[in-house]
Assembly symmetry: C2
Homo-oligomer: 246 residues x 2
DNA sequence: GATTGACAAAGAATGTACGATCTGGAAGTT
DNA sequence: AACTTCCAGATCGTACATTCTTTGTCAATC
């Protein structure tokens, strides 16, 4: 017999999930009046890439960016290196940085990975969900349905809360981080267009289906439901990107 | 219950990778991964972290690193930012960088993700594999068996070729990149100890099993085989890490 | 006397400026 | 027309200034 993965997992003490990263510093904003919007230079660059404000494969010159951002070159260089590590820009020695194209392929690739990861995360959640968790999810879902996409920004926030509740306590922080990053990218793209009526209905329906599976503690069905949800979301985004292209 | 190996495998049976949409498979744009000399400052830092030469959560001071590397602070800063983007260091504003601990948890997290991704990649390969591909794999496997772990370095290289042949042509570059990075990390850790006899036998056996599935064009069985392979590899590494700890 | 608070100084991260080096292309020569 | 030379532009490396954190000391208070 082989060593099942379960033995590894159980052998390791299930640890507290230290969420050190992602803490947006809420430092005293007293002097930061109408400066540069408060967002870091890294975030501005990343958003520009994700939202397509810079063309694919376009060259990113540090001096130009520095003057536009109102800083010197060094912060720009470091932001670019970070983006390089995350795969948003491609750097070649002595030749600078180019933006990695955020196209349909990119979105498809991300969604396909999520179709693999999210069901696994969901499976685990089904096993540890408490009654309070389910109730909280139903409350969020009720809010979502009440809102009914009248405010896309608020909906996105609620939807994030909904899924975060399921994934946030998972022991595999690496997988959750991956999900967060992928979700940020997809969310930034989605914000560029409005959700179609059909997709609105489907989203609510898929959430309902997922909730039913959770209440039945049906692991397999829940995994299938979330896979459908992710897949549908990805298809919706890709279609909008294609439509926008022409 | 935690997600055991079996549940993961059963989850794999239902879904092919391309559930999103069938975008024509564009040519894999395998361009970068530019090695700048081999011993860049970024690589040195990364290897130090992966190999555990710097302790977990240890503080990384730019000035100290700069003097040790024989350069000024700026290249170190940029290397740290890149590592931050890849998740190897954790940076907090005005407080510098700390190394992310590469412990059993980290390895387990990576392996669990690979247990999800690699079967999906393998499934696709089963569909596109030519006779020449199979023959090349068998040739590599024969070399591996002939070598029989007498040279761990060579074995690692052959094993990499074996799996790369299966994954390299996949259309989902993002998933393949993830695999490459995870494999680099695991490979760097594995290089610290010698493979146990039992694991040696298992590796060869699992490769053989995989080859049989490929020749039968049995997609599901191939996915199960590769999941077992990854899972076993992860368990082996984790056990060695724990043994070494004391 | 022990604890706590303020305050100053050292240490370290972040930002700015400038020089060195490399690339790409245009002008000039054979 | 092809090769060479040279220069503008951009990246990369070094040095320094600024700002924040940390720490250590001293005095005031309980």
């Amino acid at each position: 017999m082989f060593c099942s993965w379960k033995t590894i997992v159980s052998a390791l003490k299930s640890k507290p999930m230290s969420t050190i990263t992602n803490i947006r510093q809420a430092v005293p904003d007293r002097d930061d009046l109408a400066e540069d919007g408060g967002s870091s230079i890294y975030e501005r660059l990343r958003d520009d890439i994700i939202h397509g404000r810079v063309k694919a494969n376009e060259r990113l010159k540090v001096a130009e960016l520095a003057s536009r951002m109102g800083t010197s070159t060094n912060p720009v260089r470091e932001a670019l290196q970070q983006l390089r590590g995350e795969g948003f820009v491609i750097m070649t020695p002595n030749r600078g940085a180019r933006v990695r194209p955020i196209d349909e392929e990119f979105v498809r690739d991300i969604c396909e990975i999520e179709v693999l990861i999210e069901p696994a995360l969901t499976r685990w959640f089904v096993g540890i969900a408490t009654k309070a968790d389910i109730e909280e999810l139903e409350r969020l879902q009720a809010e979502i349905e009440a809102l009914n996409f009248s405010d896309e920004m608020k909906h996105s926030n609620l939807d994030l809360q909904f899924h975060r509740l399921m994934y946030d306590r998972h022991y595999n922080r690496h997988a959750v981080d991956l999900w967060v990053r992928h979700r940020q990218i997809l969310g930034a793209i989605s914000r560029q267009f409005t959700t179609s009526i059909k997709r609105q209905r489907d989203v609510i329906e898929e959430h309902k289906e997922l909730l039913l599976c959770l209440k039945r503690h049906d692991v397999d069905a829940a995994a299938v439901a979330i896979a459908k949800h992710v897949s549908g979301s990805g298809a919706h985004i890709v279609e909008h990107m294609r439509a926008r292209r022409y």
